[in-house]
């Protein structure tokens, strides 16, 4: 199945893109997407356990994904 990955701020700079489409096995979890991202150049600048949101809601590493999900890797927030 295909998921859409969003990257922001320092993470987008590290990976070199704000958005990717990834093919992952059916039944893949959030942690599987993060591990796939680690194979990309620049991904060494991601922390060991980045915050993740699925479809705009914070999600645990073990959350199961569905086709077409929007998986956002969330750098430390700095609003205000």
């Amino acid at each position: 199945m295909t998921v859409r990955v969003l990257l922001f701020a320092s993470y987008a700079d590290a990976i070199g893109s704000p958005e990717l489409t990834l093919d992952v096995p059916d039944g893949a979890r959030v942690s599987d997407v993060v591990e796939r991202l680690r194979l990309l150049p620049g991904a060494d600048r991601l922390p060991p356990a980045p915050l993740v949101a699925v479809n705009a809601v914070y999600a645990a590493a073990g959350s199961a994904l569905a086709p077409g999900d929007e998986v956002a890797i969330i750098p430390p927030v700095a609003g205000g």
Binding site: F8, A9, A56, P75, P76, V77, A78, G79, G80
Partner: protein, 149 residues
């Protein structure tokens, strides 16, 4: 108070009086307003401006959640919450919160709750620009770790 208008990210300048007018009511005796503004120094470095960006859909969703939670915690409170995105100059308002309530304590508490939760969880980021021409994404967790040493 029209909710979609008064909980939002915006590219436009944030005006205190508009936030106040959005929550003011004859039934309320207290209004607490909080403004975050762009400061000229951060972590000892001279700042010339800040560029704010956000995961827009999620940020607005979290902002609405925070306002809903505050309304539950402080029944009767009327809240407005705006956060700016884009490039801001020194002194410009990055975030504006207004909380009105019949009594002062819930108004003050609701404004504080809202800014604390916003800083904790709303997906907004800022890149500071420094007088030496460099710019850097701000990582409050890294800074807190340094302070803890």
């Amino acid at each position: 108070m029209k909710d979609p208008v008064h909980v939002a990210l915006t590219h436009d300048p944030i005006h205190a009086q508009e936030l106040i007018d959005a929550v003011a009511s004859h039934s309320c005796g207290a209004i607490s307003l909080f403004l975050g503004t762009v400061r000229d120094v951060n972590d000892g470095r001279a700042v010339t401006g800040i560029e704010y960006s956000a995961y827009v859909a999620m940020a607005e969703r979290e902002m609405r959640s925070i306002v809903d939670e505050a309304t539950q915690r402080f029944p009767g409170v009327r809240l407005a919450l705006l956060h700016r995105v884009g490039r801001l100059e020194l002194g410009e308002v990055s975030v504006g919160i207004a909380a009105a309530h019949p009594h002062r304590t819930p108004a003050l508490d609701a404004a504080r709750y809202t800014i604390e939760e916003l800083k904790r969880r709303v997906p907004i980021w800022k890149r500071e620009q420094y007088t030496d021409g460099t710019r850097e994404w701000v990582d409050p967790t890294a800074r807190r770790a340094e302070v803890a040493l």
